[in-house]
């Protein structure tokens, strides 16, 4: 039985929910496969997440290992393969609650960095789980800046081995997943020394635990790094190496090799390495960032039509909280962003597939652009989605703070994405470096990659909008975003030039401009996202009301961005004060329009109740019953209260005489 407050929302949808779901999946056939995979996983009790919120770190870890092992069996049973169409939906169906994700990175790094001989040796072992791999790059004292790593690998010509060492505490490997308790092997990144000369960071396969009894190998100190904000199911680990010897063949040597006599040989281009990092950044956007935001929106919006609070009109029933303008202002922009980012993700995937084909043809021209894109969008999308999930959490009042709402764990998990695979500020600065370079090239009349040709078209001018409805014309707001991005990039580039010409050293000048550079990089990504959203809407089918509602969301996303950054648009007078009032008016009007379709818009994300795992967000809207039932399952209610016998009882009785 669906809560009538939620049921009524579904009767007034202006579009076909099923059609929109198919659109999001990339076709009805994909929707069918996805649902089949989700169904197969969710009906298997081994994959249940029912008790997740009550489990300890140890229990979560054990469950993740158990699920990873069971998954192998399940895939075999179902006939799913890693290259099949089902594979990409498995992770979504498991909500990421599974171990051995780093095992896959281990395999990928060998496939990319290893020679054919190395691949032939290690990949079958890993596929058969005869060993469990990890990937040990980050150190206690060193993260994003790889050249700073301190672990050493010294070549010993007499035994034809590398000797690996952790020379000091800050050089300890720290954070790698699956390494704390599970992994038997890991790829260690270390500074290579041959004949006393340092050749920089290289990857080495190192065995860390016995294949027989799982005890640590000689010279190895390893363990779990302790509790985190989330990822309790992952055993992020530390690793210390003391004179650990590995054979010469364990250095991954597709691109660099140390020959038996100690000669260091470099071959081929290493650029492909960067491409791997770049693709990882792009691949995490959908699963780790956009899906959690979609889930958070689903939970918060469904709850906001079930929850009633205060009265809008005297004498009436208490109002649904989603009818309050302030609540719409919190939740509808994140909803629009979820769609905007879904489409930008499609765009990025396509861009990368094209880039990959070029690279296979040994054409590396697109690499700088792809790198800048992956850095900038990873940073912008993770940052935006993290804040948006937190807004959803806080929009659910007190109940949002209950773990049973599902929102705290979505939040604590997504926020790690701002740090891993490159810290966001550093990534934005990399994008900014690319933009400044392209801007200089464009100003000098040289050709630049297609995505930044707009930098060449610097023209002052004013926004032509005359009334609030003009701000619902995509060309008007796209122009405004473009103008702002160009202005921020060009003014920062000019400042940088000025500083350098006035005698400031290049690196100092760069550091003095970094705050502005970050802002410029964000403006660029924001512009591309708005533009892509509008272009996608153009191409959508006009039937079933989909294009119309998507156009509203696109307008909302664009105008919300202006509304919350008024200063940068007003700064050089491109948008006037009077026009800004029109933006605000249009923006607030849109909230009321999209409000009507809010529930159908989250229904279209098509999450099952099990995958939401939320007492507040389930499809039937029976929020309060579920909250009460789930709370009763809490271990704190099942076991007798140990604190009563030990502390409360003496406090309540015996001690009174002493007081």
């Amino acid at each position: 039985r669906v809560n009538p407050d939620l049921a009524s929302e579904r009767q007034t949808a202006s579009f076909s929910v099923e059609k929109l779901t198919a659109q999001l999946d990339g076709g009805a056939e994909h929707t069918r496969i996805r649902r089949a995979v989700v169904e197969a996983i969710e009906c298997d009790p081994e994959f249940s997440r029912e008790n997740q919120y009550f489990q300890s770190q140890n229990e979560r870890y054990e469950a993740a290992v158990r699920k990873a092992v069971h998954l192998q069996k399940k895939m075999h049973e179902m006939g799913w393969t890693e290259s099949g169409p089902e594979f990409k939906y498995i992770y979504r169906a498991l909500s990421g609650d599974v171990a051995f994700l780093l095992h896959r990175i281990f395999m990928r790094s060998i496939s990319v960095l290893g020679s054919d001989k190395q691949i032939a040796k290690w990949i079958p072992l890993a596929t058969q789980f005869q060993l469990i791999g990890s990937y040990a790059q980050t150190e206690l004292g060193h993260g994003t800046y790889l050249q700073g790593l301190e672990t050493t690998a010294v070549f010993d010509i007499t035994t034809q081995e590398f000797i690996l060492n952790t020379p000091k505490i800050s050089a300890m490997k720290w954070w790698p997943g699956d390494m704390g308790r599970s992994a038997t092997h890991t790829v260690v990144f270390a500074q290579l020394y041959v004949h006393g000369k340092c050749y920089g960071v290289h990857p080495f396969i190192v065995q860390i635990r016995s294949l027989q009894d799982h005890s640590l190998c000689p010279g190895i100190t390893a363990g779990d790094i302790g509790p985190k904000m989330n990822f309790e199911h992952v055993d992020n680990g530390y690793l210390m190496l003391q004179n650990v010897r590995v054979p010469r063949e364990n250095m991954l040597n597709k691109f660099c090799e140390v020959q038996p006599d100690g000669t260091y040989v470099r071959r081929g281009s290493q650029k492909i390495n960067y491409f791997t990092m770049t693709t990882v950044r792009i691949s995490l956007i959908a699963d780790e960032v956009i899906i959690p935001l979609m889930k958070a929106c689903t939970i918060a919006i469904r709850y906001s039509v079930v929850r009633r609070q205060s009265k809008l009109k005297p004498g009436e029933q208490e109002a649904k909280i989603l009818d309050y303008q302030t609540q719409q202002e919190k939740l509808l922009p994140p909803l629009a962003a979820a769609y905007a980012f879904h489409f930008i993700n499609d765009y990025l995937q396509e861009l990368f597939e094209r880039g990959y084909r070029e690279i296979q043809r040994k054409n590396f021209d697109t690499l700088p652009e792809l790198h800048a894109f992956s850095s900038g969008f990873k940073a912008m999308v993770t940052q935006y989605c993290t804040s948006a999930v937190e807004i959803c959490l806080r929009a659910c009042g007190g109940h949002g703070y209950s773990l049973l709402s599902g929102l705290p764990s979505l939040y604590t998990k997504i926020l790690a994405s701002c740090i891993y695979e490159g810290e966001n500020t550093i990534l934005l600065l990399q994008t900014a470096r690319f933009l400044v370079k392209c801007f200089m090239a464009a100003s000098a009349g040289q050709s630049v990659p297609p995505s930044v040709t707009y930098l060449a078209a610097v023209k002052p001018g004013k926004c032509p909008a005359k009334n609030k409805s003009d701000f619902l014309i995509p060309d008007i707001y796209i122009e405004a975003y473009q103008h702002t991005a160009v202005r921020l990039i060009s003014s920062t580039a000019a400042k940088l030039q000025d500083l350098i010409q006035s005698g400031v050293k290049k690196h100092d000048a760069w550091n003095q401009c970094t705050v502005q550079l970050v802002q410029a990089a964000k403006a660029h990504c924001h512009y591309i996202t708005v533009k892509n959203f509008a272009e996608t809407v153009e191409k959508l089918e006009t039937k079933a009301g989909i294009q119309k509602i998507m156009k509203h969301l696109c307008d909302l996303f664009a105008l919300h961005g202006i509304f919350s950054n008024t200063g940068v648009f007003l700064h050089d007078g491109y948008i006037s004060g009077a026009q800004m009032d029109m933006v605000t008016a249009s923006y607030l009007d849109l909230l009321a329009i999209i409000r009507k379709d809010a529930v159908p818009l989250v229904d279209a994300f098509d999450f099952t109740d099990k995958s939401l795992n939320s007492a507040l967000g389930s499809y039937d809207g029976q929020v309060y019953q579920r909250l009460y039932e789930w709370a009763q399952k809490s271990p704190t209610n099942k076991q007798i209260n140990p604190a009563y016998e030990r502390y409360l009882k003496p406090l309540l009785h015996n001690t009174l005489s002493k007081l």
């Binding site: 140890n58 870890y61 192998q72 700073g148 985190k228």
Partner: protein
């Protein structure tokens, strides 16, 4: 502080490694000890109790919070002398442990919506308490789940067939002696939350549960034995308590943000990363402009909020005197102001704590940094004691009211007195424009004026939009709702102005010249950073020109470099003891890495060399594949 830190009874294993049940148990143990030590040392002053308590629990919640903070005070203020005789001493001696059960599963900030009923039965002279629906189950009260044996329950009073609104009742919920729930009472813990692990927030469902007539708190409203209802005198008095609690939250915003800043800034001085200059060693990350831009404005904010917290507390003390003499004239403004400041400071601090955590990179995400814990403990304050958006709208209601008074020719006083200028501007339309050139971005007093102009412009805009909506529509409520986004912005601008003003006003009071100099830099940074984050407002209102905005942005960056040498000293001045800070990254001695390793070794996953999962799952799988 030393009394607690050096007392071995208060030591325990790192809480990060304990389960929820264990953390609850530790908290109960310490609370019990605390009560006995307080008596032993003869500490009775409320302020001293507060400090003792916060050192024992290191600023965390504990299961007796509601007993000490709500149950006892409510008895004092709302119970008759006869009721005090009956309940107060047993509660003081902890034979009775109570909580305060107001919030229900389906109803929070809007109190009139509560559904629990208390129906008077004159035949037995009892009230019959009921939770008629699922949504009426009491939900969230701290200490209710497992600890308390009594609760003050808020319920709709029915007598002689009429509903008389919300009243408070003392309800026994667990059997003295066995601690078992009483017949007709269903009580338990609401399950795991985002933080507050040590607190047994609970639920309470009552089915025809009877309590004697004398258990209704009857100092004000009364029900006579025959069921006749006697009305209370005034309800404005309850404002006082709310103001007091909100002032505590403002103080807590300052403290929590200060703790996070201490950790992030000390760690940023220890952490080295990348290169600034080719060939040189990796610099401290605090030398990067982007890192300074993340942290120093927050440091300035922490100081600003300290002054705001102190101001509200002083004002409250001063006004409390007036209240007891029957003068309630200043109360509405203070009530409106604290609602907004509670929301403004808790939102800002909440976001700031997260910024500090992110500024610590990956290690900030580890529980050993201590910031996750500060965050989860602090963040609910955006919701409890009045949801922030609702609070902002309360302040807005007061601002609009003051604006209307000014428009009709009356003068207003206090923090909103700047609205008086608006009526003058109507006569001299050039007024605002003329002011642009007068803003001096190096002068805190001049910046206060800029913030004042922004607030008055946004209040005016919101009030005008509201009026426009009213002209269109019949319903006042609809018009209000359709303007609420503007109204919240106006409140924010007003609160921002008040904070800048209080900070600037503090400077001349600082006698030490060096301290005054550094505080002036922080005050400037706070004010200028606020402008650079809200340039649109200042540009649109014509308070600042484009050229001035560029100067503001530039000056913010110059201030970062100026503050950099004093950054660590400025957080040291907050004077948090390492034990209180609870952070490996923020240690006073800066020995971060070796202590992270020591900490990790104690993780529960490391208890055995080979984890049992290996034997249970991994080994069988390897054998099969």
């Amino acid at each position: 502080e030393a009394l607690v830190v050096n007392d071995p009874d208060f030591q325990h294993e790192d809480l990060n490694f304990l389960s929820r049940s264990q953390r609850y148990e530790q908290a109960i143990r310490k609370s019990s000890l605390m009560v006995m030590k307080l008596r032993e040392y003869g500490i009775a002053d409320p302020e001293e109790i507060y400090w003792f308590k916060s050192f024992v629990h290191r600023g965390r919640p504990e299961p007796l919070d509601l007993h000490l903070g709500m149950f006892l005070p409510t008895l004092l203020t709302q119970a008759t002398p006869e009721q005090q005789d009956r309940f107060f001493m047993p509660a003081w001696n902890l034979e009775i442990i109570g909580t305060y059960a107001q919030t229900e599963m389906g109803h929070g900030t809007h109190l009139r919506g509560l559904e629990t009923t208390a129906t008077y039965d004159p035949a037995t002279q009892e009230f019959i308490l009921n939770s008629p629906t699922v949504t009426s189950i009491k939900w969230w009260p701290g200490g209710l789940g497992k600890t308390s044996n009594h609760a003050i329950v808020l319920a709709q009073l029915y007598t002689q067939g009429q509903c008389k609104g919300l009243h408070a009742f003392i309800v026994p919920i667990r059997q003295l002696g066995t601690h078992e729930p009483l017949p007709g009472i269903t009580v338990g813990d609401i399950g795991p939350k985002f933080g507050y692990d040590e607190m047994d927030n609970g639920y309470l469902k009552m089915d025809n549960f009877r309590i004697p007539r004398e258990n209704m708190l009857m100092k004000y409203a009364q029900v006579e034995p025959d069921g006749t209802y006697v009305k209370p005198l005034s309800d404005k008095l309850t404002y006082g308590t709310m103001v007091f609690i909100r002032s505590l939250i403002v103080g807590d915003s300052a403290r929590s943000l200060s703790r996070a800043c201490t950790i992030a800034i000390r760690y940023s001085a220890v952490r080295h990363q990348s290169e600034l200059k080719p060939g040189e060693p990796e610099p401290q990350i605090l030398d990067y402009q982007t890192q300074q831009y993340k942290l120093f404005p927050l440091l300035a904010t922490a100081y600003a909020f300290h002054f705001v917290g102190a101001y509200i507390k002083d004002t409250y003390r001063r006004i409390s005197g007036d209240i007891s003499e029957g003068d309630l004239s200043e109360l509405p403004e203070l009530h409106a102001l604290t609602a907004g400041l509670k929301a403004f400071t808790s939102w800002t601090a909440n976001a700031g704590i997260e910024e500090c955590r992110m500024a610590c990179g990956g290690h900030g995400y580890s529980r050993c940094s201590g910031i996750p814990d500060i965050y989860v403990t602090f963040t609910p304050s955006c919701t409890y004691e009045g949801e922030n958006t609702v609070m902002m709208l309360q302040t807005a209601r007061f601002l609009v009211k003051s604006y209307t008074q000014v428009s009709s020719g009356q003068r207003v006083t206090g923090t909103v007195s700047y609205l008086n200028d608006l009526s003058r501007q109507r006569i001299q339309p050039q007024h605002v424009a003329a002011r642009t050139v007068t803003v001096r971005i190096n002068d805190p007093v001049s910046l206060v004026e800029a913030y004042k102009a922004r607030a008055s412009r946004l209040v005016e805009a919101a009030a005008k939009n509201l009026q426009a909506e009213l002209n269109h529509r019949k319903s006042k409520e609809d018009a209000w709702n359709r303007t609420s986004v503007d109204l919240v912005r106006a409140s924010e601008a007003h609160c921002h102005y008040v904070v800048v003003k209080l900070f600037a006003a503090k400077l001349p009071e600082i006698s030490n010249a060096a301290v005054r100099a550094v505080m002036t830099e922080l005050c400037l940074l706070y004010a200028l950073y606020g402008i650079s984050k809200n340039t649109g407002d200042f540009l649109q209102a014509g308070i600042l020109t484009n050229a001035q905005i560029t100067q503001v942005n530039q000056h913010v960056k110059e201030l970062l470099a100026i503050i950099r040498p004093n950054a660590v000293a400025l957080v040291d001045a907050f004077d948090f003891h390492d034990a209180h800070l609870g952070s490996v990254l923020g240690r006073y001695d800066g020995n971060v890495y070796e202590n992270m390793f020591e900490w990790a070794k104690k993780s529960p996953l490391n208890k055995t060399e080979v984890h049992e999962s290996f034997h249970k799952h991994l080994k069988p799988m390897q054998a099969k594949l």
